[in-house]
């Protein structure tokens, strides 16, 4: 599945974005490393129409006037959904830096977010938890449990450094965004928090904080993955995310391989959430004590 680079005119400037696939739209907000068109995204695009905006300033793009904070990125994403995707509630994945932006999107624009997936989101490190090391060697270990699985076409060190600088201009080195934390209870979306068991950047305390404060939240630990689950364990990422996107709350049920195949097919064909709703009704019909 090839992604095509396109551009949208938003109120704050031109926004580049990648798009691939068809079906139910899915917005993906990238990490502080910039856009990485990983295989996981191509796989998701086999069922969904996946939109990946290049957030302003990243990967050599121009910054937008008036987009200066994480909350502003959430607002930008809301405008992108309205103008480019069509304004209906769509499912959203945010990784790390993008997870924080996705959380802002969900609290400020709850009607625009269907299901929310926060993949190792930054910004929720409780003040009592020490900051991780900035030693580049250690940072790499914190980021990747399996660096050998990184694709060869990674960004140049210069671009990576520039992206980190852009990210810092948005999050201002704030590790615990208290205003956002206070508003996590406003999130109306069914939410999945994905955490790597070896993540050295986001502490487990942040995962628990999210799980505790977001009203309808599932926390899944992906074993033997660090901060970049999609690089370390792409199959595990896809298994959980595909299942969550297709079945909603019923993703906790093991349907067996054959049932899964049938549900996937009908969901993909209809491009709607009908199957999820049907499953929820079925489960209510079969409650026994």
């Amino acid at each position: 599945m090839d992604f095509m680079l396109q551009s949208a005119d938003l109120s704050t400037g031109k926004l580049a974005y990648y798009v691939a696939g068809s079906g139910r739209p899915l917005l993906y907000l990238h990490s502080a490393g910039g856009v990485r068109l990983a295989k996981t995204l191509a796989e998701l695009a086999k069922v969904n129409q996946v939109f990946i905006p290049v957030l302003p300033g990243f990967d050599g793009t121009e910054p937008h006037k008036g987009v200066a904070t994480m909350r502003d990125i959430g607002k930008l994403a809301a405008e992108f959904i309205g103008k480019v995707i069509g304004g209906e509630a769509i499912d959203v994945i945010g990784h790390s830096f993008g997870g924080r932006a996705a959380a802002w999107l969900a609290v400020d624009h709850p009607k625009l977010v269907g299901e929310l997936i926060l993949e190792c989101p930054s910004g929720f490190r409780p003040p009592t938890v020490p900051k991780p090391s900035d030693d580049p060697k250690i940072v790499r270990q914190q980021m990747f449990a399996h660096p050998e699985r990184l694709p060869p076409d990674e960004k140049s060190p210069q671009q990576a450094a520039a992206n980190r600088k852009v990210a810092a201009s948005y999050h201002k080195d704030v590790d615990y965004e208290s205003e956002l934390v206070e508003r996590l209870s406003d999130i109306q979306s069914l939410t999945l928090v994905l955490a790597g068991t070896s993540d050295g950047r986001v502490p487990v305390e942040a995962d628990y904080l999210l799980s505790e404060r977001i009203p309808d939240c599932h926390l899944i630990f992906v074993y033997d993955a660090a901060h970049n689950i999609e690089v370390d364990q792409p199959d595990r990422f896809l298994t959980v995310v595909r299942s969550f996107l297709d079945r909603g709350k019923a993703f906790i049920v093991n349907w067996g391989e054959h049932a899964v195949a049938g549900i996937d097919a009908s969901t993909a064909a209809s491009g709607s959430s009908t199957s999820r709703e049907t499953l929820a009704l079925d489960s209510r019909d079969h409650v026994h004590f």
């Binding site: 628990y208 599932h218 926390l219 074993y223 033997d224 364990q233």
Partner: protein, 374 residues
């Protein structure tokens, strides 16, 4: 020095030596099993009264070698039939089991016992994998992941899911949680270099059982200590348990006779089928992962079957004799290994129950008091 009373619960009525795997159960006598279990449970209870710091049982499958396919059932009984001793589960063989079931049952034992559980996460011996139809090649991967999952199940303050290589759970929130916080102390086998390194890496206690010579144990302990240091912590003597076969009697001759008979039955009669399964696993899989461990285990198994009681005593690999002799033997191994917990297995093979009880009494009256300074 702390002491642990370990029980394998062997079947004492097996008729003849054999090498078949699986071991036919046609000679099993259910009516006798009731009495056997009561004898064994009573011995554990008496060990608690005799001042043992820990009591212990383990897990084995499909063999007269040990009648304990689920040690947690015995653990539950031990919570009621002992008062002070900590309860060491030197099972569960977690790669064979549902790790969440292990987490739940251990949490139950910890709560019921008032926080006396010491949680063993064992990899098991090869025949267990044949018995439960689990690929032996997966044993290390399963053990490693199960350890992480169980610890998470015990400590996570929020419901969570788990997407791993061997285990997938979408919604976990166990009831009860363990009484000890953050969780019960964990003990892992450290008999081989690979397992010693794993125990150190996990921050767990090291359990070394089936001693073939003093130097091998010393080597495993050295690896454990060094690797723990590399991992950022330094074990104390109380983190190291070594297990020995033991008989204490009023005379040296009687102790030798008891242990010789017990070991001969245990190793040569009950152990035959297990050795057959072990040979198959070692030959056909990567169970031992590397040659270092394979050599270690196969050498140990071969040696184990042939050594005489005199050689075992001379080499210091059993505790056997009068109380004074056993006291000296414990001092010798302690000097050599610097460990803090000696686990003794007194019901070796079919040593008669009165002889086991006498060993316990002599331990209580002479051995333990004399070693109070260790």
């Amino acid at each position: 020095m702390k002491f642990s009373f370990s029980h394998l619960m062997p079947w004492p009525y097996f008729p003849t030596a054999g090498e078949d795997w699986p071991v036919s159960n046609k000679s099993f006598i259910p009516e006798k099993a009731t009495g056997v279990y009561e004898d064994y449970i009573s011995a554990i209870s008496f060990a608690d009264e005799c001042g043992f710091d820990w009591v212990s049982c383990n897990e084995h499958h499909m063999s007269p070698y040990g009648l304990m396919p689920n040690p947690n059932l015995l653990g539950a009984i031990m919570t009621q039939r002992t008062k002070k001793a900590r309860i060491l589960m030197s099972g569960n063989i977690v790669p064979l089991l549902n790790p969440l079931r292990v987490a739940e049952e251990y949490a139950m034992l910890d709560c019921i016992s008032g926080g006396r559980l010491i949680a063993g996460f064992m990899r098991g011996i090869p025949h267990e994998y044949v018995a439960y139809n689990v690929p032996p090649n997966d044993s290390w991967g399963r053990l490693r992941e199960a350890c992480a999952l169980i610890k998470k199940a015990w400590t996570a303050p929020e419901p969570f899911g788990w997407e791993g290589e061997y285990y997938q759970f979408r919604a976990v929130s166990i009831w009860p949680k363990p009484r000890q916080t953050p969780h019960p102390r964990i003990i892992l086998s450290a008999s081989s270099p690979q397992s010693a390194r794993f125990a150190a890496e996990q921050g767990a206690m090291a359990g070394i059982v089936r001693v073939t010579d003093l130097d091998t144990v010393a080597g495993a302990i050295k690896i454990y200590r060094e690797h723990a240091h590399e991992c950022g912590w330094d074990p104390t003597p109380d983190d190291i348990m070594v297990g020995m076969y033991c008989n204490i009697a009023d005379t040296e001759a009687e102790a030798k006779k008891n242990l010789d008979m017990g070991l001969n039955y245990f190793v040569n009669v009950l152990g035959g089928g297990i050795r057959t399964a072990q040979r198959l696993v070692v030959q056909k899989t990567r169970y031992y992962q590397d040659e270092e461990n394979k050599e270690h285990i196969t050498k140990r198994a071969a040696t184990h079957a042939k050594v005489t009681i005199e050689d075992r005593i001379k080499n210091g690999i059993v505790l056997c004799g009068t109380p004074d002799q056993v006291i000296e033997q414990v001092r010798t191994i302690h000097k050599k290994w610097g460990h803090g917990i000696t686990s003794v297995n007194m019901k070796v093979g079919k040593i008669p129950e009165p002889a086991v009880r006498r060993s316990l009494e002599l331990f209580r009256d002479h051995v333990k008091p004399a070693l109070a300074d260790l």
